[in-house]
C-alpha cells in the first residue's frame, strides 16, 4: 500500500507551520505563543477565559476556533496526540483575565492527563481558578461517563465561547457549557480511513464495501461494522440511535450539525441532511438551526457525523451569538 500523499514539509514541523498559517491569515488577531498555543491578541480584559485544545489532525477543531466570541487560546498537540502539560499551563495563564479559565476539550485519557497536569501547574504558579467541561458527545458507546468527544465538540466550543464572552463568572459559564454537554449527542460513520502523516499509513482499514458506524475520531473501532447501505437507510439508523439516546422528544427544538469527517462530498452531506429533516420532522422534533460542512475532521477520513443539540432559550441565544475566527464567523 502506497503512502498517502500529503502537501507538507518536514513532518516534525507540521503543527507549528499550521499555527503559523492561522496567524498569517488572522491579520494580527492571533499569535503563536509557547510554541504550541494559538491565542487571541486582543482578549477583552475581565472576561472569563476559555482554553480549548487537543491532538492536531482534526482541523478545524480545535485550533481554528480561536477568536472573538470563541476560545481565547487553543493548545495543539501533535497529530492525534494530546498536547504536553506545559503548553496547557501557558495557555491558561495567558487566558486568565482575572475571572478564571474554563477548559473545554475532548474526553480522551491522554487529554485529561495532560490538561489536568498543565492546569494544576498554572494554578500553582498564579492561583488561577480553572474549571473543566469535557466534550463527551459520542453516543456510540453506552457508558455516559467515558464517552468520547467528537463532532458535537464544535457546538460545545461555540456555546462555551459565547458563554465565556457574556458570563459574569466562571461558574456561570461552566453551568451553560455543562447544560450544552448534557443536551448534545453525536453519532459518526466512517467510510474510509484517514492517515497519520508521520507514517503515511491509514489509521484503520475497512473492506471495499464496508462502513463502520460509531467509529472514533482517531480511527478507534466503532460499534457496528456493516456493508455500505443506501444513504436513507444509514441516516435512519443513525437518527434512530441518536434520538433514542438522550432521548429527544416530540416538541423539542434542536440544532443539527451534519459534519464532514474529511473527504466526504457536500453532495453526500446534502442527501443525508434531506433525510434527517424528513425523519426529525416526522417525529415532531423541530430543527431550529442546521450547520453542514467540515467542522471536526479526522484527517482525510471519509464519513460524516450527525449531532443533535437540544435547545432552550439560553443555549439558542449562545449558539447564535456573533463570533469571528478563520473558519467560522457569524454576524
Amino acid at each position: 500500500m502506497a503512502k498517502v500523499k500529503k502537501i507538507i514539509n518536514d513532518t516534525e514541523n507540521i503543527v507549528s507551520e499550521v499555527l503559523d498559517g492561522y496567524v498569517a491569515a488572522s491579520m494580527g488577531k492571533l499569535a503563536r505563543v509557547s510554541d504550541r498555543v494559538l491565542a487571541r491578541t486582543d482578549i477583552e480584559p475581565g472576561k472569563v477565559g476559555l482554553v480549548i485544545g487537543g491532538g492536531s489532525g482534526h482541523e478545524p477543531v480545535y485550533t481554528s476556533y480561536v477568536g472573538k466570541g470563541l476560545a481565547d487560546a487553543s493548545v495543539a498537540g501533535n497529530i492525534f496526540a494530546a498536547p504536553a502539560p506545559q503548553f496547557v499551563t501557558a495557555a491558561v495563564e495567558l487566558a486568565d483575565k482575572g475571572k478564571g479559565v474554563l477548559l473545554v476539550y475532548g474526553n480522551y485519557a491522554g487529554d485529561v492527563l495532560n490538561f489536568d497536569l498543565g492546569a494544576e501547574d498554572a494554578t500553582d504558579d498564579t492561583g488561577v481558578e480553572v474549571r473543566t467541561v469535557l466534550v463527551a458527545d459520542d453516543c456510540a458507546t453506552p457508558d455516559l461517563e467515558t464517552r468520547r468527544g467528537i463532532g458535537g465538540g464544535f457546538y460545545q466550543v461555540k456555546i462555551a465561547g459565547a458563554a465565556c464572552a457574556e458570563a459574569a463568572s466562571l461558574e456561570e459559564a461552566e453551568a451553560a457549557v455543562k447544560k450544552c454537554q448534557a443536551n448534545l449527542r453525536t453519532l459518526g460513520v466512517a467510510v474510509s480511513a484517514g492517515s497519520l502523516p508521520e507514517t503515511g499509513e491509514p489509521t484503520f482499514t475497512l473492506g471495499d464495501d464496508e462502513i463502520e458506524i460509531g467509529l472514533g475520531a482517531h480511527g478507534e473501532v466503532g460499534v457496528e461494522r456493516s456493508k455500505l447501505m443506501p444513504a436513507d437507510v444509514l441516516t435512519t439508523k443513525m437518527i434512530d440511535h441518536l434520538v433514542a439516546d438522550l432521548p429527544y422528544k416530540k416538541g423539542d427544538r434542536v440544532a443539527m450539525l451534519v459534519n464532514n469527517l474529511g473527504a466526504t462530498t457536500q453532495m453526500e452531506l446534502m442527501i443525508v441532511t434531506r433525510k434527517a429533516y424528513q425523519l426529525l420532522g416526522d417525529l415532531g422534533i423541530e430543527i431550529a438551526r442546521c450547520d453542514i460542512g467540515a467542522y471536526f475532521c479526522s484527517q482525510e477520513m471519509a464519513g460524516f457525523s450527525i449531532s443533535l443539540l437540544k435547545l432552550d432559550d439560553q443555549l439558542e441565544h449562545l449558539l447564535n451569538a456573533p463570533c469571528e475566527s478563520i473558519t467560522f464567523s457569524q454576524g
Binding site: 501533535n78 492525534f80 494530546a82 502539560p85 492527563l113 495532560n114 467515558t146 460499534v223
Partner: protein, 209 residues
C-alpha cells in the same frame, strides 16, 4: 552491586535507544487497538529524554530520572507522555544519593506504579501499562534481598507476564475501550513499551558483569 551516577546515565540512555529502535513495533501495537501513534509519540519523547539525560549535570541519581521524565512529559504528548514521563520522574525526589542499588530499583518501580495509578486512575486489569508496571514492581520488591541484578531480572519478568496477561483483557480505559471484545488478542501497547524498557535496563546491568 550498585550503579554510579554515570552508570545510571548509561542505563537510562540505553532504555531511550531501545524505544527509538522499536518504534515500528509500538506503532503496529497501537494500530491494532488504538490510534496508531504510540510509536511516534514514545520515540519523540525518548529522543528528548536521551538528550536531556546525556546533557544533564546530575548531583544525584534522582536528577537523571527527573531530567528524562520531564523531557518525555514535555515532548511526547498523548496519554503515554504523562504516563511514561511519570514512569521515570516518579522516584526522582527520593533518589537523593549518588548510587542506585537493589532497593532503589525496587523503589523506582513502586513509585512509578503508585503515581501512575493515582494520576491516571487505571487499575490492574484495565489493559494499560499499569498491568505491566504493577507486577514488575511487586516482583522487584520481593527480589531486593538478592541484589540489583536479580531485582532487574524479576522486574523484567514481571512486566512480561503482565504484558502477556493484557492480551486477553477487554480495555476499560483509553482509546481501545470502544473495542469491547474486539480488543482481545492484542497486548496493550504501553505494556509492550514497559517490557522493552525493563528488558533494556536488565541487559545494561548484565553488561556491567
Amino acid at each position: 552491586m550498585e550503579l554510579t551516577i554515570e552508570q545510571t546515565r548509561g542505563m537510562l540512555a540505553a532504555m531511550c535507544d531501545a524505544i527509538i529502535a522499536n518504534v515500528d513495533i509500538l506503532t503496529k501495537a497501537d494500530q491494532a487497538i488504538g490510534d496508531g501513534d504510540h510509536g511516534v509519540g514514545m520515540s519523540r519523547g525518548f529522543k528528548a529524554a536521551k538528550e536531556a539525560i546525556e546533557g544533564a549535570e546530575p548531583a544525584t541519581v534522582g536528577d537523571l530520572f527527573k531530567a528524562g521524565g520531564s523531557a518525555i512529559m514535555a515532548t511526547s504528548g498523548g496519554a503515554s507522555g504523562v504516563i511514561f514521563g511519570m514512569f521515570l520522574k516518579a522516584p526522582a525526589r527520593t533518589f537523593t544519593g549518588d548510587t542506585l542499588d537493589a532497593a532503589g530499583y525496587a523503589t523506582w518501580l513502586a513509585a512509578a506504579a503508585a503515581q501512575i495509578q493515582a494520576r491516571g486512575k487505571a487499575k490492574p486489569g484495565d489493559k494499560t501499562m499499569v498491568d505491566a508496571v504493577v507486577p514488575a514492581a511487586e516482583a522487584a520488591e520481593e527480589a531486593v534481598p538478592k541484589g540489583l541484578l536479580a531485582v532487574a531480572e524479576a522486574a523484567a519478568e514481571g512486566a512480561h507476564k503482565g504484558k502477556d496477561d493484557t492480551v486477553d483483557m477487554i480495555a476499560t480505559f483509553g482509546k481501545a475501550k470502544a473495542l469491547g471484545e474486539r480488543a482481545k488478542g492484542h497486548p496493550d501497547p504501553g505494556a509492550v513499551s514497559t517490557t522493552i524498557l525493563l528488558d533494556t535496563a536488565l541487559a545494561y546491568l548484565k553488561t556491567l558483569g
